[in-house]
Every structure is written in C-alpha cells, then in structure tokens.
Symmetry: C2
Subunit: 357 residues, 2 copies
C-alpha cells in the first residue's frame, strides 16, 4: 500500500527498524538522555526560546489539546477560538468542558481567516487565542503572521495546534510569539501514532505552574517536573519515543527543519500541478504543504477512497460526517516521493478511463 493519508504516514527505514527492536527498560540514564535530546531538537525545530520546555504525552493529539486547555487556561481567561472545522470545534468543546469563557470565529469549509474576521475582537479584553493553524479536516492553513500581529497588539496568550503543520509549513514560536505549540508523532514527524508533544514558552510554563488541573494523567506540572531529568510520570510509549529520537536526528543531519519543509513543499506542488487535469476542485482557499483537500466533481469522495484502497493499493484520507461524500484529502507528509505522486495520478486516470470519476 502507498499511504497518502494525513496520519499515520509512511516512516523511514531507520524509524521502522527501531520499531522492530525490543523496547528497552526506560527508568535509566540512557533513556533520559534520549528524552532530553528529544526536548532540545523539538525546541530547535519549533523555534522555541532557550528556556522553553517540551512535554511528551502518551496519547493522541487530542490528549495534548485537552492538557493545554486544562493546564494553561483558567476560568479567568476569555479565549478567542478559530473554528473552521472539526479540530477547531474540539477546542470549543474543551473550553466548554473546563468552564472557560470563549468566543468563536466560525469559518465555512475551506475558507481562510482574514483581517475582517479579527477586527470585531480588537480591544475586547480577550486574554488568549487558540487556533489549529492547519485545520486538518478541511486543509485550510491560517495566516500565522496576521494572527501573531493581532495577538501581540492585544497581549493575548497564543496557543497553536500545529499537529499536521509542524515540519511541513514555516513556523517559529519566537518570531510569531507563540506560547504553546502542539503536535503529534504520526504527522510530518512520520513516526507511529501514540505520542503527542507540547512545546511551552516560559510564559506557558508559568501558567502551568500556577494552575490546578483536575486530571492526573494530563497534569503537566508533574510532566514538567519528571521531564527535568528526562523522565515521564507514567510509563510512556518508549518505542515511539526512540523512533522520534531517530527521526529528529535524521531531520537534523539532512539539513534541519527548513530542508524538511522544502521537501514537503516540493511534493505538494508536484501533486497540485499533476492533479489539475483531473476532475477535482481544490476546496481550500489557503493550503498547508501537508495536504491537498479535493472535491471530486463527478463522483463520491468516499467511493474514490474505497476504490483506491481496494483496487489500487493506495490510501488517500477520507473525510467523515457531512463532508464524507464531498471531500477527500491527499497528504504530502511522510516518506513519499514524486514517483508515488505519479502512481496516485495514474490510478486516478485509470479510474477516469473506467468511468468511475
């Protein structure tokens, strides 16, 4: 199978080979060293300040989204949320669960965030801003330059879910004044799913230290304390953390985060050029390099997903809910090449010949 989904994605040979090894015992200096190096490289690649901290949660991206809401926000906050799809909606639900006041900017499917959307919220006493910089469900990448300026003008604490954007799109915590960045192991990091990561600015660490979240498993204070010595409060997904270590080092030695972003950008551009001759509309006004969201003009998106899976050995990423028949997505993250793009285009052309699209 060739995997064009947005996670889990294809891993490198090195990452896979570590997956095939025995998992070592982890309450050791050797594993602590790996974790401290993971923290340093994550800080480097996210452009975090020197005193920033990184937490590795054994759980999905949602576990980290919830941990961030529960540990860095309080009932005294007034939060502005960009809600452009199912992941924006998740931040809304989390604020509701934790009793945090919020307003939401609701965007239609595929629509970009503009200055006009933000204007109404200037100088309205908002204390925090939450955005899924790449709304993975619809493939819309928001303008972080604009968001950053807005937050700086309004002294807002800026939380960025970059789960599917980290390593795929330009990003720099210091430059954009981002206080919290969230990502996951199975997106552009191209490791198996099971770990999500939270990078915390100094300001975010201070918020964590003065907060009193209820959940034990998602208690970031305890994670920060254990992390000082490269450990975790509970048994983590040790194997995946070792794979993350190898992959971060791989990115480092290949030229760093800029090289990785460029590589994904080239793959995305290649695919977007090749798909032009086929009966699809791109549904996003503003795309991430990570994924191309497509609306088929002549067939059901879910049928295309199933046919590619069952008859061509190719996974693209289906959508759920209301978009099930309208949209599917093609990912450009993970260990893919332009030759893989060709195979997908050939499969789609063959489906066209067969009258399936």
């Amino acid at each position: 199978m060739i995997n064009f989904t947005v996670g889990p994605v294809q891993s490198s040979d090195l990452v896979r080979s570590i997956g095939g090894e025995q998992v070592p015992y982890f309450r050791t200096a050797e594993f602590s060293k790996i974790m401290l190096e993971n923290e340093e490289l994550m800080k480097k690649f996210s452009g975090a300040e020197d005193e920033a901290r990184v937490i590795f949660i054994t759980g999905s991206g949602t576990a980290s989204m919830e941990a961030v809401v529960a540990n860095t926000l309080t009932e005294q906050d007034k939060v502005l949320i960009v809600n452009g799809g199912s992941f924006g909606q998740r931040f809304v639900q989390l604020c509701e669960i934790y009793g945090i006041s919020y307003s939401e900017i609701k965007l239609d499917v595929g629509k970009a965030l503009t200055e006009k959307h933000l204007q109404a919220y200037e100088n309205q006493g908002f204390t925090a801003f939450m955005v899924n910089v790449h709304e993975t469900s619809t493939g819309v990448h928001y303008d972080l330059h604009m968001i950053s300026e807005f937050c700086k003008r309004n002294q807002m604490f800026l939380v960025v879910d970059a789960i599917s954007s980290f390593l795929a799109d330009e990003f720099d915590m210091k430059e954009f004044g981002v206080d919290v960045m969230i990502t996951g192991s199975q997106k552009a990091l191209a490791c198996p799913p099971g770990i999500s990561m939270i990078v915390l600015s100094v300001k975010a660490v201070e918020r964590v230290e003065s907060n009193r979240p209820k959940c034990m498993y998602l208690d970031l204070k305890s994670a920060l304390k254990n992390g000082e010595r490269g450990q975790t409060p509970f048994t983590p997904a040790v194997g995946i953390l070792r794979q993350i270590h190898a992959r971060l080092k791989e990115i480092e030695s290949a030229g760093g985060v800029e090289t990785e972003i460029k590589k994904i950008g080239i793959l995305a551009e290649d695919f977007r050029n090749k798909i032009k001759e086929l009966p699809f509309d791109i549904v996003s006004e503003s795309m991430s390099n990570a994924v191309t969201p497509l609306h088929p003009l002549t067939a059901s998106a879910n049928d295309i997903f199933l046919t590619l899976k069952d008859e061509y050995g190719i996974w693209v990423c289906p959508n759920g809910g209301e978009l099930k028949d309208a949209v599917f997505r093609v990912g450009h993250i993970g260990n893919l090449t332009t030759e893989d793009n060709d195979k997908l285009i050939d499969a789609l052309k063959d489906m066209q010949k067969r009258g399936l699209i």
Copy 2:
C-alpha cells in the same frame, strides 16, 4: 540486553516484526476487524461475560485507572481501597481528585491482605472495592477468592487493576464477580507500552453510560460508542494495537490463557528455586507469577540494578522512593526462558565472587 523488568518486557519475533512494518491507515473496515477481534480475545482471556465490553486507551495503565475512577464511580459511592504500595496509593489519589469517598486498608511492604483486614468493613455501606490484585511495586499478589467473597456478601462493585497480573495469574471475571479489569500492553501481553485496556462487565457499562465524566480524552462513553464499530474516538497507537492482535492470536493458538499462565509460573518457580543459594530475601508474603521482589542482604538494590545493567547486559527492575536501596524485582513475563534465568543467576554469582553482593 536481557530484560527481566516488569515492563516493557521482551516481545516475540512476530510482535517485533509487526513493529518494523509501516503503520496502516486505520479508519478502515480492515482495522475495525482487528479491533473487534482484539475485543473478543481480551474478553475470552479475562473470563468476561458475553455482553462485556473492552476499551483500548492510548495511554499508560494510569490513564485507564483514572478513566475507570472517573467513569464508573460517582460521589454517591463509598469505596474500599487496598493500599499496599504505590499503585494502591494511586487509586487513593484518584478518588481524592474525583471527590469520591473512600476508606483504605493500608498494608506494610510485602504483606498479604487477610480476612482480618476485611472484617471491619463488613456491612458498612461500602458500594465499591478497588484493588491492584498484584501490587507491582512490592510484588504482592492478593487473594482474589477472598476479595470476591467479601464483595459478593456486601454487594460491592469490584474494580481490579490486573495490569501486571493478567495472563500471569489465574483470573476470571465471571468466577470472581469482577466488574472492571484493567491491564496494559507492556506486561505479560509483551507488546510495547502505549496502550492500556479496560474490560467492563455489563454492570460496569451501565455505570459508564449513566456517568458524566469531565475529561474528553478519558470519556469511556465515547470510547464504547466508537468501539461498537471497532474504532476509537481519537487516533490510537495503531501499530501497538496490531501487535496486540498478533500476540493475542499467538496465545490463542499456543493453547490459550491457561498455557500462558503455566509458562510464566514455570519460569517463576525455576528462578525462585535457583535464587535460594544467593544472599537475598524474598520480600512478599504472597507472590504473583509475574515477578519476584528481592531484598539483598549484603548490598544496595539499586547498585545491583546498575551493575547488572552496565557490566552484565541485564536489566532487572529497580524500585524507587523509600525502597530504592532495599528492593529490586525480577520479572518472569515477556519472551524469557529458563536459560535466561541461568544467565541472571550466573551474573549474580559472579558479582558474589567479586564481593559486590
């Protein structure tokens, strides 16, 4: 390295080879089938009733312990907790966090639970009982026959953390009237850490359905609903779930849970016979097959752990906190043989010759 810890433990070649494969996309009928088979085999091996349900949490055993407290208990409950070490203490903390009334039976290190401990709590209006049937931190395995009779007499909801005991010791939910069993991927299941499992009786499912937990990530109602079609609410550790599938099938085809328990029992007995000639006391009054807790009479437990790791290529399991120098543990779970036991005994004998123990 030979790994005698209590998790992560050594995996079979088949489980490792799956760890080396690409992780497939999972919102598919193919992955759902794997998950539904995982549920059936977990029910079978835990002796659950036909209508029981199984939830797979991407997280450590603590994530599942917390999910069980938050989703199956309420402020109307009055819970009795056996607290014989750090995992018993964790149930106590969780009840405090969630405002659930409890009494605890505190046991000294290594001590068994007896009828005498339970007597004071007969007919006192307790509604639920929580026990780590194998208190992994000190290697004490409690008498589940006795606990079961007590709970039946007192109509108590019985929650058993069997994280390190499942597949290593005799266990049957129906026979013992257990309502909730918790276990993890990295113990006798011998897969990488990252997944914990909760088996829920019909009564436990009813408790979940009528409860309103605050946490989104640990919301078991949503997990049950998604599980009906073999899916999870959030991206799970797909790779580990596939390894669990292979391992459950492996146990099944090797003769089932009885064969696995017998195998671990033989390994434990072999080691306990061989260790007799060395300067160690066994600190537990009542052991699980999973682990032998040892108190060295002539040296620091932590020094022994470090020397075995650094000079002999062997991991045993260190203890933390107050027991750091007093106790280390030797596990009998995972892909180990009596020849591995011999290597550990030989290493210890060599350390004795060198005057290190």
